[in-house]
Amino acid sequence: MTLNAFLFQILNGLSSASGLFLIAAGLSLIFGVTRIVNLAHGSLYMLGTYIAYTFATKIGGVTGFWGGIIATALIVGLLGALIEIVLLRRIYRAPELFQLLATFALVLVINDAALWLWGPADLLGPRAPGFRGAVEILGRRLPTYDLFLIVIGPLVLLALHLTLTRTRFGRLIRAATQDREMVGALGVNQAVLFTSVFALGAALAGLGGALQIAREPANLATDLIALGDAFVVVVVGGMGSIPGAYLAAVIIAEVRALCVGIGTVDFGFVTINFSKFTLVAEFLVMAIVLIVRPFGLLGKAQGAVRSIAEPEEPIRPATPMLKALGVVVLVGLLCLPLLAQGSPYLLVLGIDVLIAVIFATSLHFIMGPGGMHSFGHAAYFGLGAYGAALLVKWLALPMGVALIAAPLLALCGALLFGWFAVRLSGVYLAMLTLAFAQIVWAAVFQWEGFTGGSNGVIGVWPPAPFDKSWAYFLLTLVLAVAAVLLLRRFLFAPFGYAMRAGRDSPLRAEAIGIDVKRVHWLAFGVAGLVCGIGGGLFAFAKGSISPETIHINRSIDGLVMVLLGGVQTLTGPIAGASVFAVLHDTVMRQTEYWRALMGAIILLLVLTFPQGIVGAFASLWRKAGGRL
């Protein structure tokens, strides 16, 4: 790459940075004040692209384009206010993770709403009136619209900075970021403040989306992509720091632009196409930043956020009643093959449920008792699945060996990633785990020669007698029960207590000689190991796997399962996984708009059972005077 080409790519990067900054700034503002990580932020951005497209094409001209962009920001801002008033306001007192669940449900609903309104095809907007041309810079032609975008980022940064430091509204935002209850006790109406901050954040996302229509088509996959980008930017810049978000947006955009610019390089022994590594590169930057500066480039260590969730009950050994219930369920499952003779689908569903149980229980192990909210648990599932499938494909190893190798590979991955992750906490830990999972995903996706790329690996069938679904079901059942009981045993052992001590109060745990990071690191490994069993079983159950196995969607599914069951109970993840897997499988068969339906069901559950299914049941039971 010549120097000129290099400088040109830098300019290109700067123009992409503005869009990244707009969405990240909104996410950061909303998180600061409401303490809600708004997973639907990418969806608001996506809506921005569609709405602006509609204005630009239906009305057209200068009014349709530029007026449309302003109108879009306002509409999305209003929609944000509506979401805050109708939904979020009801769940501010729920545990933080429950709020995530609610916003994820919105992702599903908004995505299907967009599908219904605008259809599945990509929609490319018109070019911007007044910025149709290009200027020649460094011997290349740069669209004037890109120059416009380069300017808009710093302008918005300046406006936000002045608002936050010079106006009372801004000072209130900063104060509420630290202690919203106290702000209320000083006479400030929090409800209005929260709604306006949410509206402002949403409007920024909408504006960011609207500005993109002249460059990129509106697309239904934008929501999760934009969300991932926004996360990376916010975390790299430092949660809550607006200048940090701009700095990070520039860095990330430049890294991407340079990867594209470098293109394919022949190193002699190996040829690498860097333009395919944009995703890996961006997450690598994030991982490095978080390791060097755990709170992001310009972020500060987060003070203890006032916890408003109900504290946890001490764990008690299973009561005779719970044990009896367990036996009944187990016997029922053992009889399932007999019941399923008429409908083979029942066994397929049973296997799906059991694998989901393994996945969710292993995630709960680090999330509940360990207090580490992993957003990338799919990585270990995927390592297990790909490990097993590739051993069969390349070495033709028998299933037994593959099923043993799968968890071991997942263990290695978990120990490697976990070593970095346990150095962080809270949202940062969540984002780093997400980054690692995305790296695994990208590696699998882009290493076509070995992993089959987007086609995945096919023909991973179990040998006899496990080719019969009843036999495979029983194998899965045995392994699932073993995994669940083993993890439970660990939780009651000294190791589990040390884990919880480290979660309840890291400072105090260290003060009684517990090496909290080491304990949590090993717990990460254990969770990865068990999750890998699920991954291996999954590969043979489906006969084929694709990068979908590691997709961010699966990580989020895991969170949904755990939260649905209730993170504070040991039986919760089992119930949550079962309910989720059954819902998922059955709902998907019913309608094209299954996402919206899933989302609606999740919202209903969140609003009715803020402690999860098992948690709600347990507290009802306690109120009735019983003990579990």
Partner: protein, 254 residues
């Protein structure tokens, strides 16, 4: 040999000296109070001894061994226990489990995966709880305890590794006058029975004058006085920077 000896301990944050050249020592079985205005460097000093902060320079000797810069958990293994200014327990555990976790760690059994933790060291944990009069609450969830009781449980946890030195950061903060005396009397008794040395910070002068064997005073990061109650009470400099006229507490008025 002193149980704890500080030599020229210094720490600054961004150019501001929080602790400057502080030296003092504690003998075996001594009950030493550290007092001084807010922001005098007491907490910084404490956090260097317990390992949360590394000093810029100076030595911290525990029975002759320099522990400056060691991690809190390693310092604990050398027999230095501590309690916190804001007492808390491991909220998801019962009272006795809180003590058991400490005993498990002391016995280096943290990484065991099989036998339930509840069956480890239960008898010893009950003994420790009995010493602080909390044995009846052993199986209650610790988060339901009243604050004064949390302080007692914290003390039982701190005793789990048979410490030779106990660091107590404002042990009576947040307690009523009567409770204060009750808790400090309890600590004092344990100190005498077990020969433990105690370093504590405190704002309640009633407690300090009634119980401390010796008092050291910090102001603006420096040690400005060291002596018994009478000496400190009559020290003009201490009066100026810390006591005031003394009408808001009993026992200090000349």
């Amino acid at each position: 040999m002193s149980v704890l000896e500080l030599r020229g301990l210094t720490k600054s944050f961004g150019g501001v000296h929080a602790v400057r050249d502080v030296s003092f020592s504690i003998g075996k079985g001594e009950f030493l109070a550290m007092i001084g205005p807010n922001g005098a460097g007491k907490s910084t000093c404490f956090n260097m001894i317990n390992g949360q902060l590394a000093p810029d320079s100076g030595e911290i000797l525990v029975e002759g061994r320099n522990i400056a810069g060691l991690a809190p958990r390693d310092i604990w293994r050398l027999g230095v226990g501590r309690t916190f200014q804001v007492a808390a327990t491991f909220g998801s555990m019962t009272v006795i489990e809180n003590v058991q976790v400490a005993l498990i760690s002391h016995a280096r059994e943290t990484y065991r995966l099989w036998r339930p933790a509840a069956s480890h060291h239960r008898a010893r944990a009950l003994e420790l709880l009995a010493q602080v009069n909390m044995q009846d609450a052993a199986d209650r969830p610790s988060r339901e305890l009243a604050y004064g009781d949390v302080k007692r449980v914290e003390l039982a946890i701190a005793l789990a590794n048979d410490p030779k030195l106990l660091l107590m950061d404002e042990p009576t903060a947040g307690m009523g006058a009567g409770e204060r005396h009750g808790l400090i009397e309890l600590v004092k008794r344990l100190v005498v029975e077990r020969g433990i040395s105690v370093l504590f910070t405190e704002h309640s002068m009633d407690v300090v004058f009634a119980f401390a064997d010796r008092i050291i005073v910090l102001a603006r990061g420096r040690l400005i006085a060291d002596g018994n109650a009478a000496t400190i009470r009559d020290n003009a400099q201490v009066r100026e920077v810390y006591f005031g006229t003394g009408k808001t507490f009993a026992g200090a008025a000349p």
